[in-house]
């Protein structure tokens, strides 16, 4: 990567990598702890777990994979991918939701 070319820059990013590393370990412990909290709502439990996972994912993708300072072309590819992934997930889940199917208002035995 052109912006990492000189040794000084690399030295600086190494510090950042180590910081990210500690954050990831902390995130892992945090997830496990959060899952022990007696939270009633399933939605909240899932949201917390996924939120932490997303933060960790962002750290890995952003810093270890240098996405933070990547080129436009790569962003383009990934945005398209995320869009189609979202389409696949939401449309499938929506289509298979009971309310989206043909059904009678009066319950049939």
């Amino acid at each position: 990567m052109s912006d990492h070319d000189n040794a000084h820059d690399i030295q600086k990013s190494v510090k950042r990598y180590l910081f990210v590393f500690y954050a990831l370990i902390a995130g892992t412990i945090l997830t496990v702890m959060a899952s022990r909290l007696p939270i009633e709502s399933v939605a909240v439990t899932v949201a917390i777990a996924l939120l932490i996972a997303c933060v960790k994912g962002f750290l890995v993708a952003g810093y270890f994979m240098h996405l933070i300072s990547e080129k436009k072309m790569i962003y383009g590819i990934l945005i398209a991918t995320v869009f189609f992934f979202a389409g696949l997930m939401f449309l499938t889940v929506w289509s298979m939701d009971h309310n989206s199917l043909i059904h009678m208002s009066t319950n049939v035995p």
């Binding site: 072309m73 189609f84 389409g87 449309l91 499938t92 289509s95 199917l101 043909i102």
Partner: protein
């Protein structure tokens, strides 16, 4: 570096490549990493698979026209090869028909058209058209071809295993797909995994090549439309195939590890104890998430080829180049969110089906625009009717008919009547057979001189075109009538059980006329098969004996693929070409010739 004036630098025009150092046969043809050789390997293999797919259909059509009667010529051979359960007394059983049907679909789509349209033409033409020395990753390119061959072999072997090949249609709907005792479906899935891998490797390679290896001056808006079509196709393959791969893995687990991904609770079909809890509809969603982008994979390269040939043979620029490009992009984008129009009758309520109907109608608009641009490009041209052009011209109304008949299928309420009838069969065959296959024939006739240094015979080309055109329409036009009357697909006996003759006193049977069309169509299919003989002979004969081309640019075309020596050597261009203008500068006022190559300074 305009080379169209130089005469043939290489006297042995029939040799495929003119490397500077001699390579052994294996290295040159089997383990080649040269994009042109790989393109030709792909092309010949895919043509053979197309022929095989046609052969399967020729046999199936016998069963449709004359159910439960021994097949002539091949009946006893089938019995010997596949056993008397499948073809006792040379009669095609329902099981065998279902296997052949599933494999016809699979082979045509995944082993015939995609490898020919995307991989073969893409490999041969794209690097030449963008002025690149090769693909970005030559060795991955080779791996892609090898993976394709392995996938194809697995599919072929599956015919001979106990129980025969997969029988659940090319769509392989669960629970049916996993309910058969034999291993046909397992082979199908394994074969698909290799084919998917091949396509993914190919897609990565094409996209990287187009993004990275464009010659200096070859900006995005100077790319020939064919390259754009391949670019969009590459994205479709890259992002739509993995969900099918995921689904295939899950179906494989259902089949061999007795999981229940696609099997609901309380199913009374498989012998083994299953836990249940899965959903058959999940398979359909994942399949069609690939399935719909896939159909555009089948058509976009064809549109690209037609566009190149039209521009060259009308001797004028394509009308609305930008609209073409944007339409292709929009098609690519939208094709990921229309898939459930194949599932209208799975019990969809109004909201969901409205969403998918709307996207389906929206996606038909860019197709209309593309076809309009191509039609309007003819206006003011000086049209040359050579064989490639005849096929390319025929593509337009044929795709038009196929596309138009997609509309009544796209509305759920009319699909209600037409779903799973021969109307659907006719719809998509019009797009893929007289549509895509004609475009591919056009491409073969068009680029053959670049690959071999010789023309294919014009006379036999015309014979091939005329017969193919007539019989294609005789095959698929009657199917609209059959479908409208309610004749269903995937019936080995052509629907004889539903004919009025066999259902006396019942309303809604198929009339004698409709049943008789089966014989008409089948006869036309056999004639269509015979019409390919001139092509096959012409193809192989012309490699050695065809008329030699007069220059490296025999059609007087503008794109870079024609500005190389013939056949292009390893590395393609002696010197990196520099591009100065758009792709279709024909009949530029004031220019000495009626074409101005992209790299002319």
């Amino acid at each position: 570096m305009s080379t169209q004036a130089t005469t043939h630098a290489h006297p042995h025009a029939d040799a495929h490549a003119s490397d500077h150092h001699e390579l052994g046969f294996l290295q040159k043809y089997v383990f080649s990493t040269d994009h042109k050789i790989i393109g030709i390997q792909y092309g010949v293999t895919a043509l053979l698979f197309l022929l095989f797919g046609l052969g399967l259909m020729a046999m199936m059509r016998w069963s449709i026209a004359y159910p439960n009667q021994p097949l002539p010529l091949v009946g006893s051979l089938l019995e010997k090869l596949l056993g008397s359960n499948a073809a006792g007394h040379g009669i095609m059983s329902s099981t065998l028909y279902n296997s052949f049907g599933a494999m016809h679909g699979t082979i045509m789509v995944f082993l015939g058209i995609v490898p020919l349209a995307f991989a073969a033409f893409g490999n041969f033409v794209v690097p030449l058209q963008i002025g690149a020395p090769d693909m970005a990753f030559p060795r991955i390119n080779m791996a892609s071809y090898q993976s394709y061959v392995i996938g194809g072999l697995i599919m072929l072997i599956s015919f001979f295993i106990p129980g025969g090949a997969a029988q659940a249609g090319w769509t392989s709907y669960s629970p049916l797909a996993t309910s058969f005792p034999g291993n046909g479906q397992t082979f199908w899935i394994l074969g698909m995994v290799f084919l998917i891998t091949s396509s993914l490797l190919g897609a990565v390679n094409f996209l990287a090549t187009i993004i990275q290896l464009r010659a200096p001056g070859m900006t995005w808006m100077r790319l020939p439309f064919f390259v754009w079509a391949q670019f969009v196709t590459g994205f479709l393959l890259l992002l739509a195939f993995p969900p099918l791969e995921a689904a295939a893995i899950m179906q494989l687990m259902d089949k061999v590890a007795h999981t229940s991904f696609f099997l609901p609770t309380g199913l009374a079909v498989t012998g083994a104890h299953i836990s249940g809890g899965g959903s058959p509809l999940l398979w359909q969603h994942l399949f069609w998430f690939l399935g719909h982008p896939e159909v555009y994979v089948l058509i976009l390269p064809a549109m690209g080829i037609v566009c190149e040939i039209l521009a060259c043979n009308t001797r004028k620029p394509i009308w609305g180049y930008k609209s073409l490009v944007y339409s292709a992009l929009v098609i690519g984008f939208l094709s990921f969110i229309v898939w459930a129009h194949h599932m209208y009758l799975t019990g969809m309520g109004t909201r969901i089906s409205t969403f998918f109907q709307t996207t389906t109608m929206i996606i038909s608009i860019p197709s209309v625009i593309i076809l309009t641009c191509l039609f309007l490009s003819l206006w003011g041209g000086s049209i040359r009717f050579n064989t490639p052009m005849l096929f390319a011209l025929a593509f337009l109304p044929m795709f038009g008919i196929g596309g138009l008949t997609g509309l009544p299928l796209g509305f759920n309420f009319s699909d209600l009547h037409l779903h799973d009838t021969y109307y659907v069969i006719a719809h998509f065959h019009y797009v893929v057979a007289p549509g895509t296959i004609f475009a591919l024939f056009a491409g073969v006739y068009f680029w053959f001189p670049k690959a071999t240094g010789r023309y294919m015979s014009e006379f036999w080309g015309r014979v091939h075109f005329t017969c193919s055109f007539i019989f294609m329409n005789l095959v698929f036009m009657p199917m609209f009538a059959q479908g409208m009357a309610g004749m269903l697909r995937r019936m080995y006996d052509g629907g004889i059980n539903y004919s009025t003759a066999n259902t006396p006193g019942t309303i809604g049977g198929l009339s004698e006329g409709i049943m008789h069309l089966n014989v008409v169509v089948s006869t036309a299919v056999w004639c269509l098969g015979l019409s390919q003989i001139p092509f096959i002979i012409n193809f192989f004969w012309s490699i050695k004996h065809g008329k030699k081309i007069e220059s490296d640019n025999p059609w007087h075309a503008t794109t870079l693929d024609w500005q190389t020596p013939t056949p292009p050597p390893h590395g393609n261009f002696a010197k990196t070409p520099v591009v100065h203008r758009g792709p279709y500068e024909y009949s530029v006022p004031g220019h000495a010739t009626d074409f101005t190559p992209q790299n002319e300074a």
